[in-house]
Amino acid sequence: MNNDIIVMTYEVPADDFTRAGEASSSVKGKLKKMGVNPDIVRKVAIAMYEGEINMVIHAFGGTIDVIVSPEEIMMILKDQGPGIEDIELAMQAGYSTAPDNIRSLGFGAGMGLPNMKRYTDDMKIESILGVGTTVTMRVSM
């Protein structure tokens, strides 16, 4: 790792489960190549994949910026989806609004946001109904 700050930007397509995970896989590969500690790579990959899946299921896709600095990895997930009505409720493990077709794929267990919080050192959700949601996650190096 050198001291440069690296920014990676990804588009997350709407309603496309075959491509969901491509952004997080790509970030995982790049961080590995940069020589980032494997435990940190795993945390970032898991948190980002959950976020990606959420954007596909709930928010017609969006964009993800990943900013890598010597101190931390910051992920900013931004969508123009319907927004989250009650963030506290959404954060509860087991609470889910995912439809049945999503559940049959093995998701919708209400673990996405709790996993994102669990695998990052800091997570902030800003959401406005009808406008969209921005989730900012940080993992310290």
Binding site: F17, G21, S25, E50, G106, A109, N115
Partner: protein
């Protein structure tokens, strides 16, 4: 036990032999809910599940599973098989229930 030894010792069908067949298996891990599997599965697990869709492959990659074993006669759908080939993930299959498949792996590991 390495993934290649698991293939030899257990009578699982090989749906895709990935690049990591000399990877060590830590232990079998069972779960079908992908978010739980991704959050809790230790790296290098032999992941036993009935979910054979493309997201299974993504979770296996991101959580660093050493291989996937599809139990109960589950199959990989076509996009998932393509993904397994692309990503070089070893995917095995068996008619055994999840518990029996995991137990077989465990017993071979501790034989």
């Amino acid at each position: 036990m390495k993934v290649s030894e698991l293939i030899k010792k257990c009578s699982f069908n090989v749906l895709n032999e990935g690049e990591g067949s000399d990877r060590e298996i830590l232990a079998p891990y069972c779960c079908d809910l992908l978010s739980i599997a991704m959050g809790r599965m230790p790296a290098d697990s032999a992941w036993v599940t009935v979910m054979g869709n493309i997201n299974t492959l993504a979770v296996a990659t991101l959580a660093d599973a050493s291989c996937i074993i599809l139990a109960e006669g589950s199959k990989l759908d076509e996009p998932a098989l393509q993904k397994a080939k692309e990503q070089g993930i070893t995917v095995l299959a068996t008619e055994l229930p999840i518990f029996d498949a995991a137990l077989m792996i465990y017993q071979e590991q501790h034989a």
